[in-house]
Amino acid sequence: MSDNNDKKGIIRGIPHDTIEQSLPILAVFVAILVAVGGIVEIVPAFYLDDAEPKVEGVRPLTPLELEGFAIYRREGCFLCHSQMIRPFRDEKERFGHFSLAAESKYDHNYAWGSKRTGPDIARLGKKYTDAWHIQHMRAPRSVVPESVMPNYAWLEETKLDTSRTKGRMEVLAMMNVPYSADDISNWESDLKAQAAVDDGNGEDALRARYERKTWTNSNGEVEQWTDSFTPTPLNVRAFDADASDVTELDALIAYLQQLGTHVHFEEGVDYYHDKFGQPYRK
């Protein structure tokens, strides 16, 4: 701390000597300075419409898919699989259309991942059959010899714990995921209907709820899709090929089979910029 009495210091006019002799001044400067970057980069996205261009078709997960998402998170799948396709030619060839911001707008927590030890699965839905997924979860190397994925044999042996399903939906509804009171109160029949463990009577009600075009969140904000848009049909079946009970594998495959299928991409439409360079809006 030698030459700081030199008044022609690099930072002219600010007496650094004063700053570093006063804990309150130093502390306040630091506290303010470290806050700037985060505020500038994070806060505007909450207010700018351009940050998340609107697109039709993105719906909240059904109770069964939501449980599948929780298993995806519990097993740490996101550590090796990304769900964010970048706008590059090779990624389009390999994984499909690049991911849109709105496609993950209901994802608490986001599941984009940061590493591809395995492939991106943002558009995995309907790419493989349930039978493939069942075998792949039991023994990944039996279908992909090069794979380094662990075996997840316990998923099909474990009955799905549904004690938190309603709670999950209630918490998400609080955070403006547009689950209606009706969606939440019917969670159990919807869950069973989608896994085809009921008598088949629940399917119509389930489809009516999750193939609807009007979504209202707890703030009263309404998202209305156009008449010409047909929402992607739900997958309703015994995903683990066993209709006797709902297993964790049912939930996980239900989640995987809907990934990236909500938006209907049209040939020739630029979902990134319109011709004026503005983000796409429909």
């Binding site: 701390m1 030698s2 030459d3 690099i10 650094h16 570093e20 804990l23 130093l26 630091v30 300075l33 470290v34 806050a35 700037v36 970057g37 500038v40 980069e41 994070i42 996205a45 909450f46 940050a51 998340e52 998170r73 519990r74 097993e75 740490g76 996101f78 550590l79 090796c80 970048r86 590059f88 030619r89 090779d90 990624e91 390999r94 849109l100 911001a101 993950s104 707008k105 994802d107 608490h108 927590n109 986001y110 984009w112 991942g113 940061s114 590493k115 030890t117 395995g118 190397r141 992909v144 090069e146 794979s147 380094v148 662990p150 316990w154 938190r164 999950r168 918490v171 609080m174 955070m175």
Partner: protein
């Protein structure tokens, strides 16, 4: 000016506890790291047991090395250097012990809950909300103790190491709090308060600044105390330290966006992140140069003192990884490096090269000073140095190789415009690199075991009175 506290009046008990715990954390963290690295090379090691499968065990590794090893080093070195650089005994010692105890309890809870699958799924912020709360309370206690001790200093100026530490304490409070915002469903599960792009931005604001403040500002503070002290030389440039302190404090915060290049985040945010990432090389290298040049006139110590070697090589790795960081933060390089092992290699050149080596150097320094003894075996410190360095270099180069290879294989097209490789081809190509990486990690683990053995031998020799006391020159 009031009287200067004699060194005997410092609270060393808490530092001793933190340093010993930190070394144990290093052993555990690298053991788990070696295991999960081996799982990637040899997947049968997952043994079909849910609790030890890669996806559940990986956060145990990251949290143990960052918050266990790194955390206890920061608590220990922080309590040590704040006393030495203020000539004042720690204030609110019970609060300090509470902070340390809470941190340790959090780590133990983390070891139990993560293998059970209770995770927030935000990288480096995985433990569930109630563990988060304990860590936050511990951190606030630590901050209070630290600031109160500085306020009680026996000289007019606040030493630069404490500026950096203060920056870390504040920023980590911000990012930990805001990234941790969630609504619990129950004790085992919570949902982030943000979704999609907002969650992603908040996460990487946290993710990169956990690196930028916890692992950089805090460790730079450690460097600013222990390198000059161990080399017995003054800091090279006071002005450089002022300049790079304020610029690092301001700039680091912005660069998290480079983890999200070409994703659905607005372009302007990413460009800002890329620009700031490039600019960040100046404050980073300011610290590296200041540390390195402090060695002027003391370079001969490298021949005789393996602890000095740890510190200098740490600075070299810091310089290298903070050159690599801005490179990877630019969009065109990131297009190749993102999602690949190159990122993992980069992190470990910072973590194994910079963080671990400066931490290990500071730990050896503190052990000898606090127990007033030479280490039981200088040869074992030297062996630790070479084993650790070899392991780190093998790890980093393996990940560079696999990362660049992955990136190139993914984007390779043949002359007909078809993809040359399937994704599975690239996975198969990773095997030799993953095996080498696991071996490199194993060497780092062996190094930590050597350190633990040497330390326990030293402490028991002190207890038995059979140790060699520190020379007067070293004690000064």
């Amino acid at each position: 000016m009031s009287t200067v506290a004699a060194k005997e009046e410092y609270n060393y008990d808490i530092v001793k506890f933190c340093v010993l715990t930190g070394i144990v954390m290093g052993v555990i963290g690298t053991a788990v790291g070696t295991y999960i690295a081996s799982e990637l090379a040899y997947p049968w090691l997952n043994l079909d047991i849910a609790e030890i499968s890669f996806g559940r065990l990986r956060p145990v590794h990251t949290n143990t090395v960052i918050f266990g090893f790194g955390g206890f080093l920061l608590y220990g070195a922080g309590f040590y250097m704040v006393q030495h650089s203020t000539h004042a005994r720690l204030r609110f010692e019970k609060l300090a012990w509470a902070a340390v105890a809470l941190w340790l309890i959090s780590m133990i809870c983390m070891w139990i809950t993560l293998p059970l699958g209770m995770t927030q799924s935000k990288e480096y912020h995985e433990p569930e909300w109630w563990i988060d709360l304990m860590m936050a309370v511990s951190w606030v206690f630590m901050t209070i103790v630290y600031l109160a001790t500085i306020a009680n200093r026996k000289m007019s100026h606040i030493y630069i190491a404490n500026w950096f530490f203060m920056t870390m304490l504040f920023m980590v409070t911000y990012i930990f709090t805001f990234n941790g915002m969630c609504i619990p469903v129950d004790m085992t599960f919570s949902y982030s308060a943000y979704a999609g792009i907002h969650d992603a931005m908040t996460q990487w604001w946290w993710g990169h600044n956990a690196v930028g403040f916890f692992l950089t500002a805090g460790f730079i503070g450690v460097m600013y105390y222990f390198v000059p002290k161990h080399a017995n030389r003054p800091i090279y440039s006071y002005r450089l330290s002022v300049l790079h302190f304020w610029s690092l404090t301001f700039l680091y915060v912005w660069v998290g966006a480079h983890h999200l290049h070409y994703t659905a985040i607005p372009d302007w945010t990413l460009s800002l992140g890329a620009g700031m990432s490039v600019a960040l090389i100046f404050p980073s290298w300011g610290g590296m140069i200041n540390g390195m040049m402090t060695m002027s006139g003391a370079w001969d110590k490298l021949r005789t003192d393996p602890v000095m070697r740890f510190m200098v090589v740490a600075l070299a790795f810091y310089g290298m990884s903070t050159f690599e960081g801005p490179l990877m933060g630019t969009k065109s390089v990131n297009a190749l490096s993102h999602y690949t092992d190159w990122t993992v290699g980069h992190v470990h050149s910072g973590a194994l090269g910079w963080n671990a080596m400066i931490a290990i150097g500071a730990m050896y320094h503190m052990i000898t000073r606090m127990w007033n003894t030479e280490m039981a075996s200088a040869k074992l410190i030297n062996m630790h140095f070479w084993v650790h360095l070899t392991g780190a270099v093998l790890y980093i180069t393996a990940m560079w190789g696999s990362g660049v290879l992955q990136g190139l294989m993914w984007r390779a097209f043949d002359s007909y415009g078809n993809l040359v490789y399937t994704f599975a081809d690239s996975v198969a190509a990773m095997h030799p690199f993953y095996a080498l990486r696991a071996f490199g990690g194993f060497l780092v683990f062996v190094g930590f075991c050597i350190m633990l053995y040497n330390t326990l031998k030293t402490v028991s020799a002190v207890k038995a009175g059979s140790n060699v006391a520190l020379s007067a020159a070293a004690k000064a």
